[in-house]
Amino acid sequence: MAILEMKNLVVSVEGNTILHGINLIVKGGETHAIMGPNGTGKSTLAQIVMGHPKYKIESGEILLDGEVINEMPVDERSRKGLFLGMQNPVEVPGVTNFDFVKTAVTARLPKDKHLRIGKFILEFEDSAKELKMGSGLSHRFLNQGFSGGEKKRNEILQMKLLKPSIALLDEIDSGLDVDALRIVGENVTALKSPNLGMILITHYQRLLDYIVPDYVHIMIKGQIVKTGGKELIAKIDSDGYDWLKAELGIDDFDEGPKQFSLGTCATNPTTR
């Protein structure tokens, strides 16, 4: 059973601290939802766990199965079982979806094993069908020309085929219509098992109607400020986050950059 741990994690980007001491443990079989207002650091959390080079760990640790992975290369994290379903999957022209997933699955195999291509093709097609992705998907270039919903379904398709032990799904519900949301929700729920721990990052209750979390964490200003069960979801859906900010005494307004005057000859006292 996989375990992902974050201990006092402080993360910055371009000199600005985004995460201020995150503590979280996710075990195989558990589903955690992370909710919170815009710009609060939820996606940063997902990206830093996966090892995006743009973000810097100032202090604290990320552990996967007890091993500190702060310095571990991105590809190695993936092969160790981490998966990030991205909010904005990039388009890679010229690389077919099938070739990409096949290469990724092959990269996970021990050196002395080869991919059984016939079996893999069937699995790819079955998974695409379950996600109602239509024919011709395998020959299309990776995410190029995909609708927002297709891109998100393609992320779940990859998750199904790569079989991670810890998956972070970053706003996998954005861009999905009602039917697509149901399909994605059902497919992700079908993947739930003691061998898979999940973190769902979302703004909205509707995804969590289909994928019921065991724990709900509220993140505000780079910190997990409250953890509870699914009852928190309904509360946020009806009342937003203001009650929580009030309860915890969180000020909504940042100081922002200090204002200063460029000055003019007319107002500069030294020239009068």
Binding site: M50, G51, H52, P53, K54, P73, V74, D75, R77, S78, R79, F83, L84, M86, P89, V90, V92, P93, G94, V95, D99, F100, V101, T103, A104, A107, R108, F141, Q158, L162
Partner: protein, 304 residues
């Protein structure tokens, strides 16, 4: 005068893998180093022409008659330093597709001049893949000489280590309603340098002409250089023209996405670059050549 059978037997310098018998006129003059190939109007199958450095060959002319229709594979295999001129002459209404591959067995120095003459409504689709090692100069004079002439010209150049490629492409619209579409893709690794000077000229009175240039450079190392200078010289109002260049390293987000799926950095680079190189490789019909080119690309990208 050498007959095709002689050429086929000689293999080393020139090998025509199709039986270009009575319809194709080939004049090979080993004294002044010229090879003239006059094609018939049509041939049943695609022609592959392999040209190596074993023969003294200064000038090559491929001549396509009026209303001819051809698909040609050209492979230039350099074994030593060379200076050569190649001319493609497309007579009226001809429609020709040429795929060229440049290879060398070791770093060499070459200086190639290519003259392309296109007459009344002739259409040339030219794909050129440069995978040689060493120092190479390419000078293209593309002459759209008569009304309706058109060229669609794609190049793929991959350089590594100390390679230095310099290309000058002069595209001259010398008649009305002529069209040129030029797409250059450059990939450099290590200390290699690729330079492209792309000049489109539309003379006064050549209305209805269309001159487009697109250039893209991908730099795989810290010290590789891609230099592109696209220029348009337009002396006529009623035309369409555009040019651009985009040069940079592989997009960080693209890399992160592929790495996040477990691909190693070299595998991710290879896959992203295959998006650029595959259209050229797939256009080659011949399996062995395809494998050779793929191996060359892999070597250059990996830095072997």
């Amino acid at each position: 005068m050498k007959n095709p059978d002689y050429l086929a037997r000689s293999l080393g310098p020139i090998f025509l893998d199709q039986p270009l018998t009575h319809n194709t006129k080939i004049r090979l003059n080993e004294i002044d180093g010229t090879l003239n190939v006059s094609f018939p109007k049509t041939l049943k199958e695609k022609v592959s022409l392999i040209i190596t450095s074993d023969l003294y060959l200064k000038k090559i002319l491929l001549d396509f008659p009026t209303e001819s229709n051809h698909s040609i594979n050209l492979l230039y295999h350099f074994k030593k330093n060379e200076k050569r001129e190649i001319t493609f002459k497309l007579h009226p209404q001809s429609n020709v597709k040429i795929i060229e591959s440049y290879l060398s067995i070791k770093p060499v120095k070459s200086d190639l001049t290519r003259v392309i003459e296109l007459y009344h409504h002739a259409h040339l689709t030219l794909s050129s893949g440069v995978f040689m090692d060493g120092e190479h100069g390419f000078n293209d004079e593309i002459l759209l000489k008569e009304i309706g002439a058109r060229i669609d010209y794609d190049t793929l150049s991959i350089a590594h280590k100390q390679d230095s490629f310099k290309s000058t492409q002069n595209i001259r619209h010398l008649a009305k309603n002529t069209v040129s579409n030029v797409h250059n893709l450059m990939v450099v690794n290590h200390h290699a340098v690729i330079e492209f000077y792309v000049n489109g000229y539309i003379e006064k009175g050549m209305s209805g002409s269309n001159c487009k240039q697109q250039n893209r450079g991908v730099i795989l190392s810290e010290t590789g250089i891609v230099r592109v200078d696209p220029k348009l010289f337009i002396d006529e109002y009623d035309v369409e023209a555009g040019h651009g260049a985009a040069i940079g390293q592989i997009n960080e987000d693209e890399m992160f996405y592929l790495l996040s799926r477990g691909l190693s950095e070299s595998e991710a680079k290879r896959l992203i670059l295959s998006g650029y190189t595959e259209p050229f490789v797939q256009s080659l019909d011949e399996g062995a050549l395809k494998r050779t080119i793929n191996q060359r690309i892999a070597k250059k990208v990996k830095g072997e």
